[in-house]
């Protein structure tokens, strides 16, 4: 138990029952939940459905009995929303708003509510593409707020930022790769003040950092960018190493034990042996576009342009490919309960059996845009569409 607590503090990885950050526990997009749903539609198979006040492409996060969500609205997309819902009933518990203090230009597909919030036992930390960053307790009390563009005015990404914050080593890690003041920073979660701020390559990047503990005592933040994969000491922000074997752009890597599955050149796997990682295998066919590849049950899944490609996680050997949609996908596929869930932009979820033989379990169409990665908690899948929040699962 002590070991688990230490690991939790270092990597910010919540228990499997929580889905507290972008792509869930450890950023792996894998849940230990069982008896997850296989069949639903726009009108059936929901535990509840709650209409949302505004659009967002961020994912919902779950901690304890609450779901947290961000959204943005307005003709200039300059109204920012942070909301909390009851996990059991879907009832909206509180709703707070801010005015964007940074620029709101972006690609029409995204919006200012693109980074996924991160939650812990103290509440939720919500970052927006405008650089507005706030911490609320579970009851909606504002713990602190920062305007990062107010602090660092040259921050700019007119495609729209989307990297999500994570928790590590008792700090809030804020990725801010952009064309202006580009950095990664650690903030004190209690006050929002900087613990450290380390410069980064000046170019936009949409990757969310991942956290590993190389020795069970210290935390290392891995953050791919346009200048390769860099590792930072979570305690000091010092860059420990930089590897040019992989780059970062949009998808986020996954760490499984001592292997990094990096979405670069398709998927490139790196193994930690001492200091810097060494390349193990690469598969160019595993490009994943907007989505992040999934490592689940001995396989790697990559969803791009409506097609799911799979390889063996140890060797990179190709297994199967299958078209799941005419649409592209933006939400990352999820592995749970022996199944792989993949979500098309148009709102269709295809459920594959997690198997070396291709098998489609079901196809479920909500008919509403799904761009944010859903959450898995309490035996259900929490899907955020452009209009509503659905808790899909048995009642």
């Amino acid at each position: 138990m002590r070991k688990f607590l230490l690991l939790f503090l270092l990597t910010g990885t919540a228990s499997a029952a929580e889905w507290s950050q972008f792509r869930g526990p450890g950023g792996a997009c894998v849940s230990d939940e069982k008896n997850l749903p296989e069949k639903w539609s726009k009108t059936e198979g929901h535990r509840w459905k709650t209409d949302l006040p505004a659009r967002g492409v961020s994912g919902p996060v779950v901690f304890g009995d609450k779901i947290y969500l961000t959204a943005s609205s307005g003709v200039r997309d300059d109204r920012l929303h942070v909301l909390a819902f009851d996990l059991k009933t879907g009832k909206q518990l509180w709703h707070r708003q801010f005015a964007a203090t940074g620029g709101t230009n972006c690609h029409p597909m995204t919006c200012m509510a693109a980074p996924t919030p991160v939650a812990d036992e103290t509440g939720v930390y919500a970052l927006f593409a405008t650089g507005d960053l706030a911490a609320f307790d579970a009851n909606g009390t504002l713990r602190w707020y920062r305007s990062l563009v107010g602090d660092y005015p040259s921050i700019t990404n007119q495609v729209g930022m989307a990297s999500s914050p994570v928790l590590a080593d008792g700090k809030l890690i804020v990725p801010m790769d952009n064309s202006g003041d580009s950095f990664i920073a650690a903030l004190d979660p209690k006050t929002g003040t900087n613990v450290w701020k380390t410069p980064r390559f000046k170019e936009s990047n949409w990757v969310t950092p991942v956290v590993r503990s190389p020795d069970g005592r210290t935390a290392e933040i891995l953050f791919p960018g346009r200048d390769g994969l860099s590792a930072y000491d979570a305690a000091t922000g010092k860059r420990l190493w930089n590897s040019k074997l992989v780059n970062g752009d949009i998808p986020t890597p996954t760490i499984r034990e001592d292997i990094v599955y990096a979405p670069s050149g398709g998927v490139t796997t790196l193994k930690f042996e001492g200091g810097e990682p060494k390349k193990v295998w690469a598969s160019a066919k595993m490009g994943s576009g907007m989505t992040s590849p999934l490592v689940y049950d001995g396989m790697v899944y990559a969803a791009k342009d409506g097609v799911m490609n799979t390889v063996d996680a140890k060797t990179g050997e190709s297994l199967w490919s299958e078209r799941f949609s005419k649409d592209k996908a933006s939400a990352s596929p999820i592995g749970a309960d022996g199944k792989v869930y993949v979500f098309s932009n148009g709102g269709k979820t295809t459920v594959f059996k997690a198997s070396r033989e291709m098998e489609i379990v079901s196809e479920n169409d909500l008919g509403e845009e799904i761009l944010g990665t859903p959450a898995v908690a309490a035996g259900a899948i929490i899907i955020r569409t452009n209009k509503a929040l659905y808790c899909v699962g048995a009642k």
Binding site: G74, V75, W94, H95, R96, Q97, F98, A99, T101, G103, N105, C106, H107, D132, A134, G140, T141, L142, R143, W144, Y145, R146, S147, G150, D151, S154, T156, N157, Q158, V159, S179, G180, L187, D188, T191, G192, T193, N194, S204
Partner: protein, 373 residues
Amino acid sequence: MKRLILAVAVLAAVAGRGSGQQIPTTADYLKGIKAVGREGQGNDVAASCWKGLVATGEAALLPTLEAFAGANPTAANWLRSAVDAITEGEEKAGKKLPTEALRTFLTTTTHDPAARRIAYEVLAKADPTAAEKIILSLRDDPSVELRRDAIAKAIATLKDGDKVPESLFTAARDKDQVEEIGKRLNKSEADITNHFGFIPKWHVVGPFDNTKGEGFAKAYPPEQGVDLKATYDGKGGAKVTWKAATAKAKDKEYALVDLNAELTKHKDAVAYGFAVIEVAKETPVELRAGSITSIKMFVNGKEVFDRDEYHHGMKMDQHVGKATLKTGKNELLVKICQNNMTEPWAQSWAFQFRVCDATGGAIPFKLLSPEAK
């Protein structure tokens, strides 16, 4: 130091440790919140004050809205979320919100525009009928959000065959509304260009060198003072001189100066645009530009805005600088950089530029011949 003293005083009051165990007042809470500074300075005090303010309930609602006046954008967001929490708390407690006070606050246009918009939204939830009555009268409002809703409501209430009043076109600020109303009034492209206050004619010069993006920070001769008769050493030693350029509508954008057309296509290049306008009196203005590449704006030789970013999207008003124009002639200089990207979507090198008030409405100015400087 002043901020530190204030923070200590407010914290003492909030914690009840001041002389005579004083109870903090709403004014103390607001002072504590408005003292927040850069990089989270004052967040601890502001958090205590936010809690106290929200716990005060309805009595703190109007003072919180009034406190938007003079609040920096960071503090304003602390206040905004406090209003949400106060009104949510009152609603959950089944209490009525002070609709008359909200109505008065909303209709007093000297209050902060953002706070008045929030007052409108709170009123619209508490008393939708009262809010609906008021909104129609706000089509010329300093709050662009209230103005937008007022214009939308006015359009929605028109019956089939009704002529759209010219006053709606005059009042409109948002591009979509201006175009919608303009279409119904048969407005020309020139009418819309004038409505927004775009500068239609420029003098341009270039290219200067921008290899490795270093030209963005380099002050080439036009930044030292514009001489339209000068010949400069441009990129690669080429001699470059000023030439007249006319802004034209292109790709659904108004008044665009296409530098690829005016100066021929160049990569790793810097160009300048120059115009002179005359205003009748000293006027605070917003300089709003669109450019898909790096840009700097100067007014009367002083830099008022910069953004070093390439090929991440072009949109009207995406860059906003603030300045005060002096009575009489004013020189406008814009610097537009191009990088060396080779992708087909990374070839545009252009800008649009307008002068307007804080709502986005054109200010009265006369475009002078640049030789008049």
